[in-house]
Symmetry: C2
Subunit: 340 residues, 2 copies
């Protein structure tokens, strides 16, 4: 049974050397005689020494923690993304603390301005309810990387897919399968979040290019991006009699909800209705039928975001302008949008 708590001091006493030498052995940086190192190592093992991170951090001025702020962990997209970020962070010897904002603008603001203490060395935030202006207005105590949100002259790096292009591709694909009455599900005018707006833009662009005038009755607002919202929007679409022959949902969850409602109403997918989602979550692959989706390269999002943080944290050259990193996406075409 190891001791609950032992410090460099205790190890030093046991090994008959100074605290500093033990520290040198632990860090492995300075040169230590082989014999001494062995003796100290034995003492370390015997006492089960574990470094006190609070002390280490106090000394170093760093905590080794980075924050990840996302709207909600239970949604598949953010769950998958968070998993990749935690993994990538571990490779860089960082630990991730996760905060859920639930789309609350105050929570997002609080995290950005660092209220609540200098706990983290950097912050990755997927903003939801803050406008681009607000995101850029804050003074920052730590480097920040924004996920997904566009910010013209921001103070922070940004990593995201090209939402306009991706939405355009998805819509163009649907047009290519012969659809003409394509609904867009996922507008969120109540939020200042720009993502939905960009996807709508891509959707309309694709329609116009094909000579189809966007029909406002086919553009549907949702409260959140959950399955239930997609189900409700689909119900409304069917009841309003606008007779869509396809749905482009701004998230896979919305698409899955729409799919569910379509089935309930006896529609056959993709014969009567094609469905395309956005996010590339794993559920999409196993939906019935398998859901076509725009899949951002999430692994690369995680990687690039951490790379940005690392650069800012370890080389704090104040002059470097914020980066705007566009990660690739792929349109995964599956059964839900095959030609009817």
């Amino acid at each position: 049974m190891t001791t609950v708590s032992s410090r460099l001091k205790d190890v030093a006493a046991l090994a008959g050397v100074s605290i500093r030498t033990v520290s040198n052995v632990v860090s492995g940086s300075a040169s230590v005689a082989e014999e001494t190192r062995a003796r100290v190592q034995r003492a370390l093992d015997e006492l089960g020494y574990r470094p006190n991170l609070a002390a280490r951090n106090l000394r170093a001025g760093r905590t080794g923690l980075i924050g990840l702020a996302i709207p909600e962990l239970h949604s598949p997209y953010f769950g998958e993304l968070a998993g990749l970020i935690v993994e990538a962070a571990r490779q860089r010897s960082w630990t991730v603390v996760i905060d859920q904002t639930f789309g609350d603008p105050d929570a997002e603001r609080r995290l950005l301005d660092g209220t609540g203490g200098r706990l983290v060395d950097g912050l990755i935030i997927s903003p939801w309810s803050l406008s681009p202006e607000e995101l850029t207005a804050q003074a920052r105590s730590v480097p920040v990387v924004l996920l997904g949100e566009r910010h013209p002259h921001g103070l922070a790096d940004r990593v995201a897919v090209d939402n306009v292009l991706a939405a355009d591709e998805a819509t163009t694909h649907l047009i290519g399968t012969g659809r003409r009455r394509i609904a867009a599900v996922g507008l969120q005018p109540h939020l200042r979040n720009g993502t939905a707006h960009q996807r709508l833009e891509g959707y309309r662009t694709a329609l116009r290019r094909a000579g189809i005038e966007p029909d406002p009755r086919l553009e549907r607002t949702v409260t959140t991006l959950h399955r239930s919202d997609g189900a409700e929007a689909m119900t409304a679409l069917l009841e309003d009699g606008v007779r869509p022959d396809a749905v482009f949902a701004f998230s896979d969850e919305l698409a899955l909800g729409a799919l569910h409602t379509a089935h309930r109403h006896g529609l056959r997918v993709p014969r009567d209705l094609a469905v395309v989602g956005f996010d590339g979550i794993e559920d999409a692959l196993y939906a019935n039928p398998a859901l076509t989706t725009v899949a951002p390269d999430k692994r690369q999002i995680a990687e690039r975001a951490l790379q940005c943080l690392a650069d800012r944290i370890y080389s704090p050259a104040a002059g470097v302008p914020p980066l705007d990193i566009v990660v690739p996406h792929r349109l995964e075409i599956r059964a839900s949008s095959h030609a009817s």
Copy 2:
């Protein structure tokens, strides 16, 4: 624009008082004259003071962090659970650091014995590959709560549903819909994890009670609990010609994978095949058809686990024996298991 970093010292200098007085104002514990408090408060605001948590933690011997170790964040069950735990932790002013073990026994061991430093005040772990014996053998540097795993004479508190009972209920429900050839998907003999074993036990008990002798060919092993494993197991079941009329999957993901394969093979659910899952994830509700599932009360799991930690951390009475907390579950009956 606030200063990037200011300490009690700086605030004290600006307000013309001692460091200690500023500390008293910040903590609000000692008595401070109203006029002084106001002046200090103004200085605090002006400098944008944020406490240095490393220093505070070093002094207090606590970090205010708790660890959450789960196999993987991207699976819906753990994503949902993690979200609830993060939320419940915040209500107790704790911050959660998340670790993914990916079922690696070494990773689990490392977390339990505290290698890697005393970062957290407590640990919630959902063990996957460690046997009950190993889980109890470790000396612990911090309080630990186990999720899901049974451990007869453990050193740690445990929070879980009654797996045997829950599996029994699910199987009994299937029998009640007239099924007789009920497959069990999710055995994991390669892991020492007891969960699958308990669910198998409940499954067999229910069969025998109904006078059905368990058929080994209907009991299927999986590598992990992902959708793909469920899909593969279903494929094997169909190809082996054992002709099941129902599937009880030990996780919802397995069930969704099985559902997917069943559809591909032209089986109609629930007419030709009934499917029941386990975990109560949100996808289950929106599957086609909606998936019957055994839903543990996840919110209560999160609450009780944190309550255990709080008790151990704040009242470290060494004598209190480990608790074994059974949280309720509900069998959510949906279309996937309606009578054929």
